[in-house]
């Protein structure tokens, strides 16, 4: 079982969350100016690293806020978590 610390609600089981994917992708700031290649990269391409992975989880059965999580996907260990606008480092 994965336990994620929600910055608003404290430590909660993964059951309360819905996974929302890679948190490293940034939507093109000016959609009209973005090229097809920019959109392809944003929509489809992923680093998919084997190790620490920065991702969003939606606390859908809790406060309904999005939570940013740094998690080692080879062990499922949560290394850090915080608000979506926070910069996370392992061991915080």
């Amino acid at each position: 079982m994965i336990r994620i610390t929600c910055p608003h609600c404290g430590p909660r089981d993964q059951d309360e969350f819905s996974y929302a994917g890679d948190a490293t992708k940034t939507r093109p700031a000016d959609p009209a100016a973005a090229s097809a290649a920019d959109w392809h990269d944003y929509v489809y391409l992923r680093d998919n690293p084997a190790g620490p992975h920065l991702e969003f989880w939606h606390h859908v059965y809790g406060c309904r806020h999005y939570v940013k999580v740094l998690r080692d996907v080879t062990s499922h260990a949560v290394l850090a978590s915080g608000r979506p606008d926070e910069t996370l480092e392992a061991g915080e």
Binding site: D15, G21, D22, Y44, D47, N48, V73
Partner: protein, 418 residues
């Protein structure tokens, strides 16, 4: 030793089974090969086999980081089917199913392919309509499909929950009679033996750790058993595709997720074929040894750990009990996880790449096992001819740029949903 047959079995039976020899060699790597296939799973071994069988390319190595068949080909629920709607998928999987039908004979190796039927249950009028549509599209593509009503399902599977208080009553189902199961280890071993007998070197404990390049051309593959020169390279490492691609600084439309599977203690015959639950994600069949083999959803988060977590275990069991309450006291013997290449549209990639002589076989999501012969066939063709086979023309990597997606479920670029 040549062929496996009833005669060789009788001869060996009478002489103490001392004449059998190993089914494939354990060679040292050569300095270079015409083709290096990365990944000694079902797809990689099938690719090597068909390179030799169909294209006469025998100076081939399959490099495998562990032992052959130790990854997803040995971690699936062994289901074979071709019940797809989209043309780009349907013809590919149907071709694969036709290869399955002749595979044991072709390989001279019993893969125990058993066409016991795959039944998808429906639990509402809307779902019956959707299955009628799917079945009609399959039949238009020349694939077998039969829409069953409730009584038709009950005749085949009397042990499901037909009671008044079933949470999701069974309305009927869509049956593909030619679908079924196969013995997954034998598939890996049969392709390995077939490839080896045609001259392919199978190099185990040989992990790829990098590439030698000349611009966009791969000149060598660095492995834990030394650097091996190559004419062409095929990557068939589903689960670890992004890791190997990262060695080339190459990003792909793939996320890795863990899918769990389970087997119970052996029982007397209970389920003839493969049954899937329509009100959740659950599939079950019974192995020849009697164990119920079952599975459900992926764990819904990126993972490279070959094990999953309890919420999905609970969900799979809840689905199973809703469909077949009578298995409630059967004990689970084992559970395990495999790493799925979840692609961005839910369909696989068998394709040329931005690199001159590198070819990609990836993105199999939940469904790689059934595709094993068709995938090897098409990938071998793609490598040998530097162009796709007619069955994998729609499976190019460039479809994500051009917008020609193969999204069977219409779910969009959210890998966990495919």
């Amino acid at each position: 030793m040549a062929e496996y047959s009833v005669f060789s079995l009788i001869r060996e039976g009478l002489t103490g089974h001392k004449g059998w020899i190993r089914a494939w060699r354990d060679p040292e790597p050569k300095a270079s090969y015409d083709v290096i296939v990365i990944g000694g799973g079902g797809h990689g071994l099938a690719t090597a086999y068909y390179l030799a069988r169909n294209h006469g390319i025998t100076n081939v190595a399959v490099v495998e980081k562990g032992w052959i068949g130790g990854g997803n080909v040995g971690r699936n629920t062994t289901i074979v089917r071709s019940n797809y709607m989209l043309d780009g998928n349907a013809h590919f999987y149907e071709h694969s199913l036709k290869l399955w039908e002749g595979l044991s004979r072709d390989l001279n190796y019993n893969v125990m392919f058993s066409q016991r039927g795959v039944l998808n249950l429906a639990h509402s009028d809307g779902q019956m309509d959707a299955y009628a549509r799917r079945g009609n599209m399959m039949r238009l593509n020349g694939i077998d499909a039969e829409l069953l009503d409730r009584d038709g399902v009950r005749r085949l599977y009397p042990h499901l929950d037909y009671s008044k208080d079933a949470r999701w009553p069974i309305y009927g189902g869509l049956l593909q009679p030619r679908g079924g199961t196969a013995r997954h280890d034998a598939v890996a071993w049969g392709f390995a033996r077939g490839a080896d007998r045609r001259g392919v070197d199978i190099l185990q404990n040989c992990e790829v750790i990098g590439f030698e390049r000349d611009g966009d051309r791969i000149t060598g593959v660095k492995t834990t058993r030394g650097t091996i020169g190559c004419g062409r390279v095929g990557m068939a490492v589903a689960g670890n595709t992004s890791r190997v691609a990262a060695m080339l600084g190459w990003k792909l439309p793939i996320e890795s997720h863990v899918l769990q599977a389970f087997v119970t203690e052996p029982l007397k015959p209970l389920i003839d074929g493969v049954v899937t639950y329509g009100a959740g994600h659950f599939y079950i069949s019974q192995s020849d040894k009697g164990g119920l083999v079952l599975g459900g959803d992926i764990d819904f988060h990126n993972s490279y750990a070959q094990r999953g977590n309890l919420p999905v275990v609970e969900n799979v069991m809840a689905n199973g009990l809703a469909m077949m309450p009578n298995i409630g006291r059967v004990r689970i013997l084992r559970s395990w996880g495999g790493i799925m290449d979840m692609s961005m549209d839910g369909s696989p990639i068998i394709s040329k790449t931005p690199f001159d002589n590198l070819y990609l076989n990836a993105g199999w999501c939940y469904g790689g096992f059934k595709a094993t012969p068709g995938s090897g066939y098409a990938f071998a063709h793609t490598i040998a001819n530097d162009a796709p086979h007619e069955t994998n023309r729609a499976m190019g990597l460039d479809r994500f740029e051009s917008g020609h997606l193969l999204d069977e479920g219409g779910k969009g670029p959210t890998p966990k949903l495919h």
